[in-house]
């Protein structure tokens, strides 16, 4: 009989191994999964405390106490890996952005994983590694987490819920109810990239140029915009429902109307082509690394310059005006020269038949 190494624990088999029910049962397997996978990639002093919750210093802003902003977002994207990203980095970006668009500096993240029995451990490692890289780049550590395993058929591989906490200086308010007639509407870059990247992967469509998701953390861009001192009214990241849903939301909250100029709205030719093909309208397609900005018209130039100086805002531009309208319609002057409403979507966008 060969020599048995003392204290040796066979490591997780990331090549051939799969998630099984023991990984969620609270025993050694779970501890091993946490230490060899989650702690390995995401580790930091708070996560390393190893307690049921993370103990964190009270947040301050420039040395003064601020208000706490908290946001949560569940990620169920399919496919899990797509051009330009995966569910791991997406789950970091989504929540960091939800905190940052409030004007807050994102500080910490919590992550909850629901894993399906049979999910390859190698894929899980790729996802967690991507999450760690995104958290590092955004400068927002994952300080606490949770893992559950559900039986095969009761999940879709991996679901990730992340919760973010940030600090907001006193006096700053970027809520959706602050848009006023006369304000202008800006976007930080081309629309529809994320949704079309996902759809073309789902439908197995290939185009001459790959369409990559725009998934990115926007806290750096937002910090640069806030530093200008410009008269920002509200910020949003136009995720599900795209630009159309975001603007309808703000129009309703603020009790105003909007007028968009179709010619000014940036959509990449390859995204526009894919939308034609799939029967989608890019205004309703999700983005994961774009900002919609409503600001005082006088400060638009200042903000656009600050945005264009940041890599995530290079293509920032003006797309429309906030107007007075008792019906709170978002309207658009079409490139064709007519006018129409840009309404809420009833449900999912469904392709037309002919």
């Amino acid at each position: 009989m060969g020599e048995v190494k003392r204290g040796y624990v066979r490591p997780l088999d990331l090549k051939h191994g799969c998630v099984d029910l023991t990984h969620g049962s609270g025993g050694r397997s779970m501890v091993q999964l946490i230490s060899e996978l989650f702690a390995k990639y995401l580790g930091n002093e708070y996560l390393g405390q190893g307690n049921d919750g993370a103990v964190l210093p009270a947040p301050t802003f420039n040395g003064r106490p601020g208000r706490i902003v908290m946001a949560t977002d569940s990620h169920v994207v399919s496919p899990l890996f797509f051009p330009g990203g995966d569910i791991g980095c997406l789950s970091v970006h989504g929540t960091v952005n939800d905190v940052a668009v409030m004007g807050a500096t994102p500080l910490y993240l919590a992550a909850g994983f629901i894993l399906e029995e049979g999910f390859p451990l190698g894929d899980l490692a790729r996802i967690v590694e991507s999450m760690a890289a995104a958290a590092k780049e955004a400068g927002v550590p994952v300080v606490t987490g949770d893992t559950k395993v559900v039986e095969r058929g009761k999940g879709d591989g991996v679901f990730i819920t992340t919760t973010g906490v940030g600090v907001l200086p006193d006096g700053l308010d970027l809520g959706g109810s602050r848009a006023r007639p006369g304000d202008v509407i800006l976007v930080s870059g081309s629309l529809g990239d994320h949704g079309v990247a996902i759809m073309s992967k789902r439908e197995n469509l290939t185009f001459e140029a790959t369409i990559e998701s725009d998934t990115a953390a926007l806290n750096g861009l937002i910090a640069a915009m806030l530093a200008t001192g410009a008269g920002l009214r509200c910020l949003r990241d136009p995720t599900r429902g795209g630009l159309a849903a975001t603007l309808n939301e703000i129009a309703g909250q603020s009790g105003v109307g909007m007028m968009l100029y179709e010619k000014a709205i940036p959509v990449k030719p390859v995204v526009a082509a894919a939308c034609e093909f799939l029967g989608l309208d890019p205004l309703y397609v999700a983005n994961e690394g774009k900002l919609v900005v409503i600001c005082n018209a006088l400060d638009a130039e200042l903000l656009l310059n600050a945005m264009r100086a940041h890599p995530l805002g290079r293509d920032a531009c003006f797309i429309g005006d906030v107007i007075a309208d008792d019906h709170h319609f978002v309207q658009m002057t079409t490139a064709f020269g007519g006018k129409r409403i840009v309404d809420w979507l009833a449900g999912d966008q469904l392709p037309r038949i002919c």
């Binding site: 490139a335 020269g337 007519g338 129409r340 309404d343 469904l350 392709p351 037309r352 038949i353 002919c354």
Partner: protein, 375 residues
Amino acid sequence: MKYVDEFRDGELAQNLARSIAATVEAGRNYSFMEFCGGHTHAISRYGLSELLPPTVRMVHGPGCPVCVLPIGRVDLAIRLTLEQGVILCTYGDTLRVPASDGLSLMKAKARGGDIRMVYSTTDALQIARDNPGREVVFFAIGFETTTPPTAVAIQLAAAEGLKNFTVLCCHVLTPAAISNILESPEVRQWGTVPLDGFIGPAHVSTVIGSRPYEFFAEEYRKPVVIAGFEPLDVMQAILMLVRQVNEGRAEVENEFARAVTRDGNLKAQDRVAEVFELRREFEWRGLSVVPYSALRIRAKYAGFDAERRFKLDYRSVPDNKACECGAILRGVKRPQDCKIFGTVCTPENPIGSCMVSSEGACAAHYSYGRYKDMH
């Protein structure tokens, strides 16, 4: 985007708008029906009516595939999935068409029906190949545009000996619908629906050609201009219709010459004729029972006919009493004339089928144009 932007050019649109304005005769009203939902969609989405003089009125026609699908047909599809456990493959916007008992295919899916959205009949065939132990039914709807792909799917399934694939055929015919409108008392006897001409279908005409419309131009003295689905196509067609009316002509003209010929796609027509035959009658939403207006699968391909395999028994179900879809599909009423438009009936909770697809007159007006009713 190449080959698309050229047909959406704002400056050309302004030029055409000026030409139309200069061509209409003072004191004369023009009413044109765009038969197709594709045209309805283009008119609404690009805000085209703003570019037309007030004396030119566009009347929306019945050429929206999901709009003319009667409740009873959707009920058949729902029964197949919920009671017989088949995998039902369907095109996207059919999912939300209201059926009996407050159901739709979307709601039936939530109740456990295995309903899959497909982009083409090829997807449906693949699902059948991948699930040999399950019955797979393709819910075939649409006008002549979607009929040839269904015919090809049936022929492929026959050649492969695919035993678990069938088609619930609800394909309908454009000329029959146009005749029905032209024969309706509102147009023919009472004249309550003035119709000075038609914008003829785009994609349908690529298949059937321009010849079938010659009869309408001759018999009913109505000009027809076949037009593509891009907004400039529609503007150009309107200009051509105005000219015909002014000159007292009633001819078939082809604006969409880049895709439509007089004879159409003969190969596609052959495939359709090989697989399908005329139904004696078919119920349409809005037009009620129209003789010889739809297709069914020939006996030779009976094995691929879901109605035969599952012994389906069609039951007609009346529309909601308050719903004006019927009158709207015939051009007798406008969406905003319906009492429940925008109140009880919205795209979120459509009561009538015209509120479902963005090709439907009601959904198009609600989603793109209802600001005009309020200001």
